[in-house]
Symmetry: C2
Subunit: 591 residues, 2 copies
């Protein structure tokens, strides 16, 4: 049974009806959430995008309407016409709970089999089922509200950037490899056999070209692609808010983006984000939080206790100093309540970050316990406690190693302890920060050369250019990351627009002039014609919507996501294709 | 030479300066358009996105500034600080022509070689050069203004649809073949060797699924892909404004889109588009204009003169009636001034549309001339003239054949004559119309079967469903095209949401139940669960921006387009890739 609308118009949405509508004759359309008999009367809850309304079949309803009422089952799609009346038993949990619709007429627009998943909030169903029946999963009110948030966020971003004079300009999807270094998705060309397009990992080069074109302020909300093995929060295609500005310096880009973020959170969630964001240099972030994306919602900063133990006879500390490392500590407030087993587990935990071990000092009830007390003088022990401001009840955790290991281990440990002690339970804060002055290059041990930390067009800081050849590792970049609650949302940089400096940069990265030209020739060519100083930023729309929607699963914020194997259980993509198609493309399968 | 901004801020844009700014000290940044010496003084025009300003180096300028002035050449990117003064020789052709900037300080931000194309409006350069140096081509003010229009159009579309309760929801780029029937771009999967994603030709199936999900009103401005041989107005990737609505009928979608279009033209161009659009059925459009995308900016309608000549002995007419064709005519006002050669050329023209010939009657100076006068009685001749309302000075052109040939030939002829007579010269009208009631299916002579005229989910008109099996060619669809000045901008339909009707439709199209399921299984499955009545529309953003910008070249409205071979001369995509990449994908090249 499937009746046509035949001119019938919807006049109201289910969720908008209130007491002031009592007496109105209305038509609503939607899906039957549930159906029940109470006191001889038939009741249904009808659901649309806006909410739910109770519909009641009174005794005086026409027979054909009553018959339809009997036939209808959950998830049937129906249209109901009737009068809004005061509800007898008020339901304070429903926004429409003061009223109900007295059915006069009904159309069954389409029938439904019993759905394989419940259409309700907080569904606990296997991901494979949710993705296979994604259209039903998306009927659930919590999923609906995520896409409402996503729509509003994109809209707010566009409104803001439009007002600030940015033009949204579309860049190509069928393009050439970008220098980001992840694996590209390739698209075989039919016209040029043996040649391939690549789907963009980002519009980086195009947005720089648009600056050369004089567009001044560009943005785009754009799909990007990476063919990488998927971790939980990655998808093969993801959406970026990408922007670039001319005639600006680092601060201009940061303050603009702060205003952008604050406007979006206000408009979408009515939340006030504090601006300006806290700003930390990369060095600071590493030394204080052991991370380049520090979670600033809690303290527990890392303290350098090297000077206190610099003359210690303890071999672990001595070894660390010998390799120019350091000894650093976390002081866990109230941490002395942790049992020995817990602490041992933390010791195992830091080993996964290549630390050789974890030393601890427990300040339980004024009594100091430590597995390394025998290696330390009383002065050293007290010195440590003092320098981390240890109080009775605290637990001090120490790692000694080369700096990179110390930072990584203590940074991870800090987060692990916060999780364990539920320090952030019920925390609803959106704590934004900038991490700045990133290293320009990093040493690739495998390939035995320096590589760009960000990308090869990132500008060094003016005061460090002098070390570019002599000590590249020391050069800081005009690069910045936007961090929210310990996660990197995005980042950007001021780009090099001086072709001589660009050449020096390529030299440092070990490119010959030819190899640089081969990969980035068109950008280098463009830079011969008066490139403006420029810089920009990109951040993940999916990521920021996850925060806004309060989910830690990226699949929740993408309407039709892929699973961990980059497979779509709904459409069954990827799939086989006709041999004819491959022949046209000049490719064949390796058997 | 390349100086850093070093804290210098731009305070004004070049194009915004007027008399009221006189006396202000400002900093502008941009590109040198030209440079000249006049009366011993150095002048430059500086250009940014907003326009141009004259900059003058007075006698008292500091020596180092004067030196820089000497060095600077066109397209250098510079920053100029100085005082706005009244211009001595006013230039009424420039919006900033009342003032000039008295240089105090200058920074050369970057140098420029001599550009290979002129940075000026109405450039007449080879397309290959323009595309290779696209970043310079895009510096030209007319190109800049196109992307400003495009940005504003997208913004206005989004603003309107947002207000109307549409959610913008992103659908996948890595997906499965859609049923549109054009050739897909394929993307090999690394995880599933031998399998491929397809880039979407449209989000058709996904938007229908979103309606099943209850999103009610969806839209997206989205990239779509077709791997077809490119005609002049096609690109391998193009942008669609795609929307879908639930609980609506044909009229709801048309009126909403009329309001959308009228708002966009008002906001972007300040043009009032007349709404409601004219509406013609497909039958009407074919009979009156010989086209399903009629150009309604001028009349010259086709007239059916079959009844006048139904008993004619003229073999050409008799033959047409024998194959159930017709005899139809155009009356070209003032056309009798055309010479015999011109008319012969029109005869050749209609032959390219499969017409066997073109009969003509010239009403020059009351005297009637015709190459077929000897085959017609005086009554017939007068009857023809009367039925096309021929007046002295007119030219009547007649085609007799089967209807499809008559329509196509006369439809094309009508446009050809309009072009020849420059009927639309200086016409600035945006004449929108809807063509409705398209045939549901069309007969594919090659494959000897009916195929969907639009796509297999298009709903037949209720009153024609009864002919679905008995006479499919007679069934009209709830489909509509939006036409502007004789070009199809887009189209859509109400979809089938009744699975029984969908099955009948598949039968008509010759699908077995299995083959239908294999291709569209997930949509059919979804339709088991209470699909709402729904329909939608999609139109080309590129196309509409072309109209707005007054260009007939699609490449002008795409920042980085491909050439006719789907090749990008700028980035040189497509290109070769490493063998390693192909190995990972399990594919190899056919030698």
């Amino acid at each position: 049974m499937s009746e046509a609308l035949n001119g019938l118009k919807r006049t109201k949405m289910c969720g908008e009806l209130r007491e002031e509508n009592i007496g109105e004759t209305i038509t609503i359309m939607g899906w039957v959430q549930r159906k029940r008999n109470l006191g001889g009367l038939l009741f249904m809850d009808l659901r649309d995008r806006t909410g739910m309304l109770q519909v009641v079949f009174k005794e005086d309803v026409a027979e054909e309407v009553a018959i339809k009422g009997d036939v209808i089952r959950p998830e049937y799609c129906i249209a109901v016409t009737g009068v809004v009346v005061k509800r007898e038993s008020i339901n304070a949990n429903m926004p429409t709970g003061m009223v109900e619709l007295n059915v006069e007429n009904i159309k069954i627009l389409s029938e439904s089999e019993t759905p394989p998943i419940y259409i309700k909030e907080n569904l606990d169903a296997a991901e494979s089922i949710r993705l296979k029946y994604r259209y039903l999963d998306l009927r659930r009110p919590d999923m609906q509200s995520i896409f409402y948030i996503r729509h509003k966020a994109s809209k707010a971003i566009r409104d803001f950037l439009d007002k600030e004079g940015f033009l949204e300009i579309e860049t190509p999807m069928l393009t050439k490899s970008t220098p980001e270094g992840a694996r590209d998705y390739l698209v075989p060309s039919r016209n040029y056999e043996g040649m391939f397009y690549a789907l963009p990992q980002s519009p980086q080069l195009f947005k720089q070209l648009l600056m050369v074109s004089g567009f001044d302020r560009y943005f785009q909300i754009v799909k990007c692609f990476r063919d990488e093995d998927l971790r939980s929060n990655r998808q093969p295609e993801f959406t970026q808010v990408d922007l670039e500005m001319s005639f600006v310096e680092v601060d201009d880009i940061m303050t603009l983006n702060e205003r952008l973020i604050s406007k979006v959170f206000k408009e979408v969630l009515d939340v006030d984000v504090e601006i300006p964001f806290k700003r930390l240099t990369y060095k600071d972030a590493m030394e204080r939080y052991g991370s380049d994306k520090p979670d600033l919602r809690f303290g527990m900063e890392i303290k350098d206790i090297s000077s206190v133990v610099k003359d210690s006879e303890f071999k672990v500390f001595k070894d660390a100093f010998e390799i120019k490392g350091s000894v650093r500590a976390l002081c866990v407030k109230g941490g002395s309540s942790m049992g020995r087993k817990d602490i041992d587990r933390l010791g195992e935990f830091v080993k996964t970050y290549k630390a050789k071990g974890l030393a601890w000092i427990s300040l339980k009830d004024e009594e100091i316990k430590s597995q390394i007390s025998k290696f330390l003088s009383e002065d050293e022990l007290n010195g440590i406690i003092q320098s981390v401001e240890g109080k009775p009840g605290d637990l001090i955790l120490i790692v000694a190693d080369k700096n990179s290991v110390v930072f990584q281990a203590l940074g991870a440990l800090r987060l692990e302890i916060a999780k364990k002690l539920e320090i952030l339970k019920d925390n609803k804060e959106f704590n934004f920060s900038w991490v700045t002055e990133f290293p320009l290059v990093e040493y690739n041990e495998e390939e035995n050369r320096f590589q760009a930390a960000h990308h090869p067009f990132t500008s060094p800081m003016d005061e460090d250019i002098k070390y570019l050849e002599s000590d590249p590792g020391r050069v800081r970049a005009k690069a910045y990351d936007m961090v929210l609650n310990g996660e990197e949302l995005g980042g950007g940089s001021i780009r090099i627009h001086d072709s001589k400096l660009q050449e020096r940069m390529f030299n440092v990265l070990g490119f010959t002039s030819e190899s640089a030209w081969e990969r980035f020739g068109f950008l280098l060519e463009a830079f011969k014609f008066g490139p403006p100083p420029h810089g920009g930023l990109a951040f993940g729309l999916d990521r920021i919507v996850m925060f806004m929607a309060g989910t830690d699963n990226i699949k929740d914020v993408i309407a039709f996501p892929k699973n961990q194997n980059a497979f779509c259980p709904l459409t069954e993509a990827p799939n086989v294709v006709d041999l004819k198609q491959l022949n046209e493309l000049g490719i064949t399968l390796i058997k």
